[in-house]
């Protein structure tokens, strides 16, 4: 069973702000997912390779050849805040004070 504290911890790691009602709902839904996983664990899977990927492909690589990059103005165009040359962000020092 996932409790309220665990939901809040995960929400904080994901930078999500939840209302009390959402916390209740998430606790219920996440618990449901874990219950389902516990049912899967009951299966005998000793001889099944862990499945990290569902496509049967390996070594999809690209040659080390440069391709054009974006013009800087275009790169910066979608930024909430920018200087002439870069993306402006709140100082992570301030965030660190909040424990990040």
């Amino acid at each position: 069973m996932i409790d309220r504290e665990q939901v809040l911890h995960v929400a904080r790691l994901a930078r999500l702000e939840l209302t009390d009602a959402e916390v209740e709902r998430m606790a219920r839904e996440l618990s449901g997912i874990l219950d389902h996983l516990e049912r899967i664990v009951e299966l005998d899977l000793d001889h099944v390779e862990p499945t990290s990927h569902v496509v049967a492909l390996e070594n999809v690589l690209r040659p080390d050849e440069p391709r054009p990059s974006l013009a800087r103005e275009r790169a910066l165009a979608g930024a909430p805040d920018a200087t002439d040359s870069g993306f402006r962000v709140p100082s992570p020092g301030a965030a660190a004070a909040n424990g990040s």
């Binding site: 790691l13 930078r15 990290s52 990927h53 496509v55 492909l57 390996e58 070594n59 999809v60 690589l61 690209r62 040659p63 080390d64 050849e65 440069p66 391709r67 990059s69 974006l70 800087r72 790169a75 910066l76 979608g78 200087t83 040359s85 870069g86 993306f87 402006r88 962000v89 709140p90 100082s91 992570p92 020092g93 301030a94 660190a96 424990g99 990040s100």
Partner: protein, 484 residues
């Protein structure tokens, strides 16, 4: 003040140190997109939707980065994972646009290797974060109001090398990192420049009572961007932990930032957050299963590595260990040395090694001798003139000065500047005059005070401007004083 004696219990701790090294690979392009790598270019001029983390983009690994990572693992004698996968390491920081770093987790490319006497725990591939430029104050993270992100570096291919905790002093850690740096440089896979951040080293440090096998609580030291800082940082942390334990305290597991200006250590992030990365397999990248052809190509690309070269120079030429290591670790010196040696089979390997590692280095500093006017065969010729006693040591140094300045062949320089060794006929008269001019010294030498000889030999050297062979002059003086 009474004298403080050190009791055995006061020195009863030993450091246990492991290193984590990040190596920027010297590919043309980034790890997962075709943006060119750059250092020092205008900010945000090498970005694209992939390395900016735009939704809907897909990463594709750089084949050359994987080739370099294979070379590194082979050089470190690691075991290859037949099939390794990439993971997402999730955390929020402004230098990470996707909210996760693509890295490797439980199945790294390589495991269980060794370099020198240190075991390598794992070697894996990942992408570098962008660079935060702190607007406002001192450039340190703390105190700045706003920051500006430069994504040129974001997505640079990185290889992370983690050692086992096999190091037991700050000096040993520095020495081993030098070996690793020389090895990576020889492989040609990275610029390995600590100033520019293409080689970065963190250290895990703990201490334990001497003779015990359990590991104490470790701290992680970050940001030591030079060999000197690495050694000073580790030494400071070992001292801090010892003081804590002696005072009855406990070491807390934390990440520390070494400040080279103060020599002090300060905590970086709170521990409860730092390891909650919620790794999961990167669904956008398929597994990496190096084929035999890829492995063969990496193996074929391996040059002779510095560790092996030092051993060979020591074994085959009988060079002293420290000289052999210097030639091997600065491979440009080793290349110059071996090129000179093969230019003239008669050149004495020891004398040549000393002229490369002492005299040439004193004149060239960090410059690659291949870039200097001195030709390897010319240095070999000079060493042969010295061995044949055709020039004195001090005249040879003057010849080398001329070669470093303008190039040229030593025999021609010797003739041009009249630096040839004074012949016996010329020396006879000079030695006679020197003895006459220093009767007190002559008397002392006769009475058995060998070091009084210096005044007479010095006089000969002054008169011949260093063109005399010191040993020969001493022999002549002794002969004249009836001691021969």
């Amino acid at each position: 003040m009474t004298t403080v004696t050190t009791t055995p219990t006061e020195r009863a701790y030993e450091p246990v140190i492991g290193l984590e090294i990040h190596v920027q690979l010297r590919t043309q392009t980034k790890m997962f997109c075709g943006c060119a790598l750059s250092f020092g270019d205008d900010p945000n001029t090498h970005t694209c939707p992939v390395c900016l983390g735009h939704p809907g983009t897909l990463p594709v690994p750089n084949a050359e980065a994987i080739h370099f990572a294979l070379m590194i693992g082979l050089a470190l004698e690691c075991e290859l994972a037949p099939r390794s996968i990439f993971h997402r390491k999730n955390y929020f920081y402004p230098d990470l646009p996707k909210g996760y770093q693509i890295s490797q987790f439980d199945i790294p490319l390589w495991r269980s290797g060794r370099l020198g006497d240190v075991r390598v725990h794992r070697v894996h591939l990942e992408e570098d974060a962008a660079k935060l430029v702190h607007a406002g104050s001192s450039g340190r993270i703390h105190g700045a109001e706003a920051s500006v992100v430069d994504f040129n570096r974001g997505g640079t291919p990185l290889v992370e090398i983690v050692t086992e905790p096999d190091l037991s002093s700050s000096e040993q850690a520095g020495e081993w990192l030098r070996l690793l740096r020389a090895t990576l440089k020889r492989l040609g896979v990275s610029d390995v420049n600590m100033d520019e951040g293409s080689l970065r080293c963190d250290a895990n440090v703990s201490i334990r009572p001497v003779g015990t096998a359990t590991l104490g609580t470790k701290t992680e030291l970050k940001n030591m961007n030079s060999f000197r800082f690495l050694e000073r940082g580790i030494a400071a942390e070992v001292a801090r932990q010892e003081e804590l334990l002696r005072g009855g305290g406990e070491v807390e597991q934390e990440t520390l930032h070494f400040d080279p200006r103060t020599g002090g250590l300060s905590a970086l992030r709170s521990k409860e957050e730092s390891h909650d990365y919620r790794y999961f397999p990167e669904p956008d990248l398929v597994p990496l299963a190096p084929t035999q052809a890829m492995i063969d190509r990496a193996r074929t690309a391996l040059p002779e590595l510095p560790g092996a070269r030092a051993q060979r120079l020591e074994r085959e030429l009988g060079l002293p260990g420290d000289v052999a290591r210097l030639l091997a670790f600065r491979s440009e010196l080793g290349d110059f040395y071996e090129s000179a040696l093969s230019a003239d089979g008669a050149t004495d390997p020891h004398t040549l090694a000393s002229w490369v590692t002492v005299e040439l280095v004193a004149r060239l500093g960090d410059v690659d001798p291949a870039e200097s006017p001195v030709a390897p065969e010319a240095l070999a010729e000079l060493v042969r003139l010295i061995s044949a006693r055709s020039v004195s040591g001090s005249a040879a140094k003057e010849v080398l000065d001329a070669m470093v300045a303008d190039g040229g062949r030593p025999e021609a320089i010797v003739v041009e500047r009249g630096l040839g060794l004074a012949g016996a006929g010329e020396l006879d008269a000079v030695v006679d005059r020197a003895i006459e001019a220093n009767p007190d010294a002559a008397e002392k030498v006769r009475a058995g005070t060998a070091k009084a000889m210096g005044a007479i030999v010095g006089a000969v050297m002054r008169e011949t401007k260093g063109r005399a062979d010191g040993g020969e002059v001493q022999r002549m003086v002794r002969e004249r004083l009836g001691l021969g």
